[in-house]
């Protein structure tokens, strides 16, 4: 009998614990189920942590039932991280991409088409500079909203220009090469360009060279004019007119070289200005000139915000996007990061303030809103990275002396056509 009561007590204890555990689990599950969550992944902008916390706090007021998580990854880590999250079935709801990476995701069905949202919330579409908003259109569908924008421009060292007897920025490609060669003496070189994400492409485009045919199905760059342009670039690289690090460096090296004060011109996008100015005490409005590249051609390298197809809460993600691209928040971002956002009202306010506070920076940023009808180097190609990989190493082969211009372009044409399936 005693044994029976002991056993019964044990059984009751076990049952009580089990019921308590199940209740706790049910309660927590239902609590979690009521609380939704979205996450957003940004590209190398961890310096804006405070801003993102403010975004999250603001959104919490609008949607108290939604938790927001922020993640940030550096550029080289971003694709690896995002792809692994997609494969795991847990993609961030909102992603911020740079350059042409969004195209691969959109073409593979990885991003939500924002066109219906933009149609429904027409006032959101009207916020933006249409040329920049159009940077994220693929097969007539708009996949992203502008987060912050940039395109290439020419920076030039006025002191080196003066020493070489030059005044004013070059107006065409021939002048560009001529100026570069004149400034190349000893340790000094004439020109640098950034080379990632097609940022050098304006050097070809300003000469009328097209990468692909109008239907984007075949390479179109292997022309006598392109050979002539590449020959000029080879010659300038050999005689010091163009610094070799233009073709082999990515960000720190070319910008650092210009900041050192030994390079006459730099073709880079607007964020480079702030990096260079941070490194170069010599930079002020008397020593640094700013201009569009000859012909006004520029490669955009903007950041966009999109919604992952795997998002479980795309409508909530859209609400969040609407909030962060509003005038209030884009002005905050512009103020803190010294960027433009393609939000028309916000950019106007930012530039008006900046012209008073930091005229040189304002001059740089002003170029980002000029000649936006001359954006180049951003083709709507799903396999953009593969085409880049097929094309650019051949350019390197030529400018670094391994092949002639004609050979390099011929080989590049073969490889690009292979990627295009032609």
């Amino acid at each position: 009998m005693q044994r029976f009561f002991i056993r019964f007590r044990e059984l009751v204890s076990c049952l009580t614990i089990t019921i308590a555990a199940c209740s706790a689990l049910l309660w927590s599950t239902s609590a979690v189920a009521q609380q939704k969550k979205i996450s957003f992944l940004t590209w190398n902008i961890s310096d804006q942590e405070e801003l993102f916390k403010e975004w999250i706090a603001e959104f919490k007021k609008i949607r108290p039932d939604v938790d927001v998580e922020w993640l940030d990854k550096k550029g080289p880590e971003f694709p690896a991280y995002y792809q692994t999250q997609v494969i795991a079935g847990t993609p961030p709801d909102i992603i911020n991409t740079q350059g042409g990476l969004w195209l691969e995701y959109a073409a593979a069905g990885g991003l939500v088409d924002l066109t219906p949202y933009l149609t429904k919330d027409a006032e959101v579409r009207k916020r933006f500079n249409s040329d920049y908003l159009g940077s994220w259109v693929y097969e007539s569908k708009n996949y992203m909203l502008p987060f912050y924008i940039s395109k290439t421009l020419m920076f030039y060292n006025k002191t080196m220009f003066k020493e070489a007897g030059l005044s004013g920025s070059p107006q065409n490609f021939e002048q560009l090469m001529d100026f570069s060669t004149k400034m190349a003496k000893g340790e000094k070189t004439g020109m640098l360009t950034l080379n990632f994400d097609w940022l050098y492409w304006s050097l070809f485009k300003m000469n009328g060279v097209e990468l692909l045919t109008a239907d984007n199905k075949k390479a179109a760059f292997n022309t006598p004019k392109a050979v002539q342009v590449l020959d000029a670039l080879i010659k300038a690289t050999n005689n010091g007119g163009i610094n070799k690090v233009s073709w082999t460096g990515r960000w720190v090296e070319p910008n650092g070289a210009f900041a050192a004060g030994n390079v006459g011109m730099l073709q880079a996008h607007s964020p480079a200005f702030f990096f260079i100015r941070g490194q170069a005490p010599w930079i002020n409005s008397n020593t640094l000139g700013v201009a569009q590249a000859p012909g006004g051609w520029a490669t955009p390298n903007s950041h966009g915000l999109g919604i992952s197809k795997g998002s479980k809460n795309p409508d909530i993600a859209w609400e969040f996007l609407k909030m962060v691209t509003s005038q209030k928040w884009t002005e905050r971002l512009s103020e803190r990061r010294k960027v433009l956002t393609a939000n028309i009202a916000s950019d106007k306010t930012t530039l008006d303030k900046m012209h008073k506070q930091d005229p040189l920076a304002a001059t740089v940023l002003q170029t980002q809103l000029e000649q936006t009808d001359k954006l180049t180097g951003n083709w709507p190609l799903a396999n953009d990275s593969r085409i880049k990989e097929a094309f650019y190493p051949e350019i390197q082969n030529a400018v670094l002396g391994r092949k002639t211009a004609a050979e390099a372009l011929k080989d590049a044409e073969t490889k690009v056509n292979r990627v295009l399936g032609f």
Binding site: A80, V86, R250
Partner: protein, 318 residues
């Protein structure tokens, strides 16, 4: 109710236990179960994180894989595509050159080990200095060497120009001919210390009485080296060689920091190309194919190394 005369519990004859020692068979089985219970967690982790990814990698290599949609079976199409891929052949060639540099490093490390194994003054300091490079982060090593190779402000160009060997600076990392040797040198510098430690440990395990006995028999230093030192160092040499091969296959960080595989893939290794294929070109299936090729190469080379060193990781034929 006949037959039940015992005082104890009623037990029928058929179920009465036979008095016995524990049967050897059941004891062995219990021990085996115990061994498997202890092994199982590690084996499970090994299977989950090593075997399963290998199998999955193999499956990926025969698919057209999309991270966003359905995958489809395409057979060996990726393997055929490898044959036409110039970058793959370049990466393979560079990886083999990296591997071929391992014996050079081992020879240098052996010379250093022999020196610091003698009774010279300050040998501990020399050992420390040589080994210091190994624990450094490879990224830091890459950055340091990149600056030393810099065309404008680099140490090497400064030295070479000062002593009059060159008139114009050399763009080491922008040169198709010099970039790979430059990276190889940086790699060698870093790993030399580790080779030295392995070989030094091997040298110190060789019984001194063998040298004494051979000296009595009139053997010269050279004969001692080739007849005693080298054969008994075989396991250490094998280990150093395997480490060298592994480094060649895993030098992603050094190459990525110094040259990103450029200029124009002239310093591309299989491992960097795998990364680019997977994460820059979004071709995870093709990257899986490259990984399979790299795996086969690695296993083949390790097997060859084992055979050349006498089998059993260098311990055979002793």
């Amino acid at each position: 109710m006949s037959g039940l005369t015992s005082i104890g519990p009623n037990i029928s004859p058929s179920t009465r236990r036979k008095p016995s020692a524990a049967s050897p068979g059941s004891k062995a089985r219990r021990e085996l179960i115990l061994v498997w219970c202890f092994l199982f967690p590690s084996l499970a982790v090994f299977f989950l994180y090593r075997i399963l990814p290998l199998i999955w990698n193999l499956v990926l290599s025969v698919q057209k894989f999309s991270i966003f949609g359905q995958s489809e079976w395409i057979g060996f199409a990726h393997y055929w595509a490898l044959l036409d891929d110039e970058v793959f052949w370049m990466a393979l060639k560079n990886t083999l050159l990296f591997i071929a540099s391992a014996p050079c490093g081992i020879v240098i490390a052996l010379m250093i080990s022999l020196m610091v194994n003698t009774e010279i003054r300050g040998r501990n300091i020399y050992r420390t200095i040589v080994f210091l490079s190994y624990p450094l982060m490879t990224v830091a090593v890459g950055i340091i060497w990149r600056w030393m190779y810099d065309e404008k402000v680099g140490l090497f160009n400064f030295i070479l120009r000062t002593i009059g060997l060159i008139d114009t600076p050399l763009a080491f990392l922008q040169s198709f001919e010099l970039a790979l040797p430059a990276v190889l040198l940086a790699n060698l510098w870093q790993i030399l210390g580790f080779y030295m430690i392995i070989l030094l440990a091997g040298l110190q395990n060789i019984p001194q009485n063998l040298y004494e006995a051979s000296a009595i028999d009139g053997a010269s230093r050279t004969v001692q080296f080739f007849r005693i030192t080298l054969p008994l160092l075989r396991p250490s040499l094998f280990l150093a060689f395997v480490v060298g091969i592994m480094t060649s296959f895993t030098s992603f960080d050094l190459v990525y920091v110094m040259t990103q595989g450029g200029p124009s893939h002239s310093t591309e290794l299989l491992v960097t190309y795998i990364y680019k294929a997977a994460f820059e070109l979004s071709r995870i299936d093709y990257a899986a194919t490259l990984t399979v090729v790299q795996f086969v190469l690695l296993v083949t080379l390790t097997w060859l190394g084992n055979r050349l060193s006498g089998g059993e990781a260098g311990a055979g034929r002793n």
